[in-house]
């Protein structure tokens, strides 16, 4: 065991099985570990406890409307890209009780939810996902009003990031400048090499979790190997998106015929917004018991593709799928920048992979720009 811990910014090497000591240290520190695991033929984020829970030896083949798990030739721990889940599921849960009410003599009493927020360690956060978390930070923490449950979960979360060396077919993080390397916002960031993990220390807390990992300073060979793998990954992006003047492009083309063309294919199923790591729209609903004595106010994920989303007295303002898709894309890539100073898209490709009809937003933008092939 090393007598001292590595400094923040240091690059160290640990053996692959030593990752378990990091898991153990995190659990000892009171963290609930959440990481990638294989469930129902997909790699999803669930509570994990040991290395065997990781999708070791698996990879995912992705394309528009396509996702398949495949066995790899060699046993990589993080040899996949991203699945349908994102960390949003833990920081901004799909269903959250806000408060409850109880009938009383004078009407009703309001009882805030006092459940302490969970303390998570996220294992395997990719560069695009770090960027997505930073996007949601701007929405829920940096504004004039803070979302307290998000803030509490976020501030207590430990982030073990993973640099992507094998981008997928629907990835375009290079276009969005969010990857494949994790540059900031993590406690530890690993690069998986053939036999070892190269580990970059991002915070003193991250260094602390290496206490039993039997680490050693990284050598020139490992550093150059990782650099080369990341450079190769940058060149292997499955897609690209021309981000020049996107807000202006979309605002100036709100009547473009392409919206009708994409609406002919779009099912308005909401998959893209549910898998998106930054989409934050929510509904707030009341759930009462049969007696009507108590009611709960719950926040649930919503989607701008739901017909009720734009309901005002007199009807739904966006009955046409054309208008809903336009709202989604012009927000994601356009007005988001006006609102939060950053694009709502991090280039993870989930909306392309999980779209049941394989709509590809990079292709839609290219069509509105008047470039590339246009599907009918």
């Amino acid at each position: 065991m090393q007598p001292t811990l590595p400094a923040t910014g240091a690059q160290v090497v640990i053996s692959k099985p030593a990752l378990q000591t990091i898991f153990d240290a995190l659990r000892a520190a009171g963290y609930t570990l959440v990481g990638p695991t294989v469930r129902e033929n997909a790699i999803v984020y669930e509570e994990i406890s040991q290395l065997a829970d990781l999708p070791i030896g698996w990879t995912d083949e992705q394309g528009p409307g396509t996702y398949r798990l495949k066995k790899r030739e060699e046993d990589r721990y993080f040899g996949y890209v991203v699945g349908p889940h994102s960390w949003k599921r833990y920081l901004y849960p799909s269903r959250l009780k806000l408060f409850s009410t109880r009938k009383s003599d004078g009407g009703f009493e309001i009882e805030p939810d006092t459940t302490p927020p969970p303390k998570y360690a996220f294992i395997g956060v990719r560069g695009c996902e770090l960027a997505a978390i930073a996007v949601q930070d701007r929405i829920f923490i940096d504004g004039p009003i803070q979302e307290p449950t998000y803030k509490a979960r976020r501030e207590s979360a430990f982030l073990l990031a993973v640099n992507c060396t094998e981008p997928g077919n629907t990835c375009f993080c290079v276009s969005m400048k969010t990857g494949p390397k994790c540059n900031s916002g993590f406690d530890l960031a690993l690069t998986e090499l053939d036999d070892v993990f190269l580990m970059e220390v991002g915070s003193p807390l991250g260094a602390h979790m290496l206490v039993n990992a039997d680490w050693r300073p990284a050598g020139a060979f490992e550093l150059s190997h990782a650099r080369r793998a990341l450079a190769e990954a940058e060149a292997k992006m499955g897609r690209s998106l021309d981000t020049r003047d996107l807000p202006e492009l979309l605002y100036e083309n709100l009547d473009h015929p392409r919206w009708e063309a994409v609406a002919q294919r779009c099912l308005s199923c909401t998959n893209c917004t549910l898998v998106c790591p930054t989409c934050f729209c929510a509904d707030v609903q009341d759930v009462s018991d049969l007696t009507g004595d108590t009611a709960e106010r719950v926040r649930v994920w919503d989607s701008c593709f739901n017909p009720d989303f734009s309901y005002v007295y007199g009807g739904n303002l966006r009955p046409a799928i054309r208008a809903r898709y336009r709202q989604w894309l012009s927000h994601k890539l356009g007005s988001w920048i006006d609102q939060f100073g950053v694009s709502g898209c991090v280039g993870c490709g989930r909306c392309i992979t999980w779209c049941p009809v394989g709509i590809d937003l990079t292709e839609e933008v290219a069509a509105i720009r008047g470039e590339g092939e246009t599907k009918p």
Binding site: G107, D113, P148, S288, L317, S330, D338
Partner: protein, 287 residues
């Protein structure tokens, strides 16, 4: 504006917790439209509560839901909080069943307000169509309280039918305060002796000075589009034309995403916006 929090909640408690308030008075206005006076149960909260003309509250009924309703009373009497509500959806139907002394949840105030300060020293044309007059009434009260600070003030009021006119019993009082109140209806009945026609047509008889006129308008979007058209035709600058927009709202604090209007969250930067802010989207279909 910050409000004193009377009840100590845990630091991670939701900013969407309402305050309990009681209905102290119910006033029928027109068919399907009622005004409810509400009073916060907590005396400290009641005393600290302030709002600006044009802002709104979220009204909540347990087991039913929440709805955004503009405040229609005098901002200088914030302990008398009036909400004029058209009975339309689930929540407003449930509110309509409430009797005086019933309780409901209230949180707010939210949103931007009519720029009564910026408009000081200027002529005002206040244009309300149907229920759209409700969020304008606090601005009218404000102007009457500070009448000497404003030039010529014209109030254009319209409704579908004479029975749908909002606050008709107050128009004479407004006129006494030197407001020029002009009223029109889309469809007259036998008893109606006033004007017939849509609200924007009332502009035909106006000769506003474009250098010193500010417009406040709220009503159906189609009406506001034509009000803006008439105002622009009279060379009134885009940033002195204020519209109040309505969209679905679930949270009122910029998190739920429902009220987005292009880059604008209507609950935060809106509902009151200048025409300059909304122009790129104002005529886009299904926006």
């Amino acid at each position: 504006m910050t409000l004193a929090q009377p009840i100590l909640y845990p630091s991670f408690a939701s900013p969407m917790l309402p305050q309990v308030a009681a209905i102290t008075r119910t006033q029928p206005e027109s068919p399907g439209v009622f005004t409810y006076t509400v009073e916060f149960r907590d005396p400290g909260y009641r005393a600290a509560y302030r709002f600006r003309p044009g802002q709104f509250n979220m009204l909540y009924l347990p087991g039913i839901g929440e709805v955004a309703i503009s405040i229609s009373s005098d901002s200088e009497e914030p302990d008398q909080l009036l909400h004029t509500i058209r009975i339309a959806g689930n929540v407003t139907q449930a509110i309509a069943r409430l009797k005086p002394r019933s309780v409901l949840g209230v949180r707010g105030p939210y949103g931007s307000s009519w720029p009564v300060e910026r408009a000081r020293g200027r002529d005002l044309i206040i244009v309300g169509g149907g229920i759209g007059l409700a969020p304008l009434r606090p601005a009218i009260y404000y102007v009457m309280r500070h009448r000497a600070d404003y030039g010529k003030v014209t109030v254009l009021v319209g409704a579908r039918a004479p029975a749908d006119l909002l606050y008709p019993s107050e128009y004479d009082e407004w006129r006494k305060q030197n407001l020029d109140v002009i009223v029109t209806v889309d469809r007259a009945d036998e008893a109606w002796k006033g004007r017939v026609g849509v609200v924007p047509m009332l502009f035909y008889s106006l000769r506003p000075d474009p250098k010193r006129t500010t417009i406040f308008t709220c009503g159906p979007e189609i009406m506001m589009r034509f009000v803006v058209y008439e105002a622009l035709a009279r060379r009134i600058p885009k940033d002195h034309i204020y519209v109040s927009l309505e969209r679905n709202m679930k949270c009122a604090i910029g998190f739920c995403g429902h009220c987005q209007y292009g880059p604008t969250f209507l609950c935060k930067e809106g509902p009151v916006l200048t025409y300059a802010q909304v122009e790129p989207f104002f005529s886009v279909e299904e926006f």
